[in-house]
């Protein structure tokens, strides 16, 4: 099976572990994700707040590239929930809104492009694994079941809502990730807030609102004694992982819940090493939790020693006089 693949900006750097693990985990199933040429950002939730035409034109360039990619099967896979939403939403609105379609094609023409909306199916990476590869095929590849690891499956919002091209799971109580984690042998804990929002960009806009939203999720996972949270979106991972220390400071809590991508834990269950899965890039250390299932994670690279303090103030180095 070969799919066109839109990684999105986050997967280039911040969520590189998600990209690497997804590629590795797909191989044993004969699934190939072919990255589309020279894609651009999807605009996240920012461009649409500033300029409607530019926001849709930005996404339409990606859709046009995907559709004209040689050998594409009219399915475009996105691992990031925000990219998935923006791509599927633009495809849908360009199909149903004739005026918008006309304007966007006028804009695309300025770059020598055209987009015939319709027929492109935008799907999330999780959808591909659970529905195309299937639970049974995944079960067959499990060699190191995650027995004893308590996992809280976190979906976030945009993978299940609103479903511009239809949804593959329930809007409010999705189960696909729960089932996948069970297939891997994990103990899936009840996680009532599994489809609640991580706050998205609110960390940058209102600290109290963002801290409250992240705290709700961490508290819910901690209440059900989860060892780790498993996510399918780089924004959710960033908020829950990188801001966990801030939440602990803000609410004087002491959460220590590592946040991994579903592809990373799939790889571990399939016998791949923690290193191959990019584990170690998370800010909340996953080693204590993974030790429970006998997974060894290499030590993080030692922190470089601080430069010895100089007596005088730091000054730019000047070339020595001869």
């Amino acid at each position: 099976m070969r799919y066109s693949y839109y990684p999105g900006c986050s997967l280039e750097r911040n969520a590189s572990a998600y990209h690497v693990s997804a590629m590795e985990v797909a191989k044993p199933f004969g699934v190939e994700f072919a990255e589309i040429d020279d894609w651009n950002c999807c605009g996240a939730t920012e461009y649409i707040s500033l300029n409607k035409m530019a926001a849709y034109a930005l996404v339409a360039r990606n859709l046009a590239i995907a559709k004209n990619q040689p050998g594409n099967n009219q399915t475009l896979v996105a691992p990031c929930s925000a990219c998935f939403l923006n791509l599927s939403k633009a495809e849908q609105y360009l199909c149903e809104d004739e005026t918008l379609r006309g304007h966007i094609n006028t804009a695309l023409e300025a770059g020598g492009m055209h987009y015939n909306a319709g027929g492109l199916s935008v799907r999330h990476l999780l959808d591909i694994f659970v529905n195309d590869v299937g639970y049974d095929a995944i079960a067959e590849k499990v060699v190191k079941p995650l027995n004893g690891l308590r996992i809280a499956p976190y979906y976030g919002c945009m993978i299940v809502r609103p479903g511009f091209q239809g949804v593959f799971d329930d809007h409010e109580q999705p189960v696909a990730l729960d089932k996948l984690m069970k297939v891997l042998g994990a103990n899936v804990v009840d996680f009532p807030l599994k489809a609640n929002c991580c706050g998205g960009h609110m960390t940058q806009i209102s600290e109290p609102v963002a801290m409250d939203l992240i705290n709700r999720l961490l508290k819910n996972a901690a209440d059900y004694e989860a060892d780790i949270l498993v996510t399918l979106c780089p924004m959710c991972q960033l908020n829950l992982d990188a801001y966990q220390a801030d939440v602990n400071r803000y609410f004087k809590t002491s959460y220590h819940i590592p946040v991994l991508y579903f592809t990373q834990v799939m790889g571990l269950a399939m016998g791949m090493s923690a290193q191959e899965m990019g584990i170690g890039k998370e800010l909340v250390d996953a080693r204590p939790a993974l030790a429970k299932i006998g997974v060894e994670v290499p030590e993080p690279e030692p922190v470089k020693k601080k430069r010895p303090a100089k007596e005088e103030l730091p000054m730019p180095l000047m070339p020595e006089k001869e």
Binding site: C9, N14, L50, M53, P162, G163, H171
Partner: protein, 196 residues
Amino acid sequence: MASATTQARAPTFFDQVVAATPGVSHLEMCIQCGTCGGSCPSGPDMEHSPRALFAMIKGEMREQVLRSNTPWYCVSCYYCMTRCPQEIHITDLMYTLKRMAIREGFSKESSASDAPGFSQSFIGFVENYGRSFELGLATRYHLTHHPLEVYKMAPMGLGMLRRGRMALTPKPIKGVNQLKAILNRAKQLEEEEYAL
């Protein structure tokens, strides 16, 4: 039977909001049930619930609507939109109100006045390079909006850098000039549409 002789009238605020929203917004269908506000994770921090805001739009309360912090506190989680019994595209309407508030200068007066700046910093990198650039975004946005609080970001930023999760320099896409041409044309079209 509807008369074919409806008189031309100046577009109302309600008309403008609907026209600026892509697809079919169903805004006129609101039955004031309040499911949206009750479903909203940041609802308690909003000055008006979406329901109240929609009533205000129908009441032509342009300024009060565009001054409200409500659209800026929308986290785009789409709970309201999937639960709305009238299938109103609430999240898309919030984006429309954000664009109008910026254009008409009201966003500066809302209690979430930093939000447009964050969007602009983010998009600045996308327009110039084709992709987002997290390190540049974090530094540019915080230095221009919260210069005295930059130190708060330092521990997390260093953690991200140390783990190779942030690039030090932006990497432009090959078709960056093509993208710029497309976006510039799109912006002209946005101006033309707004002038109508």
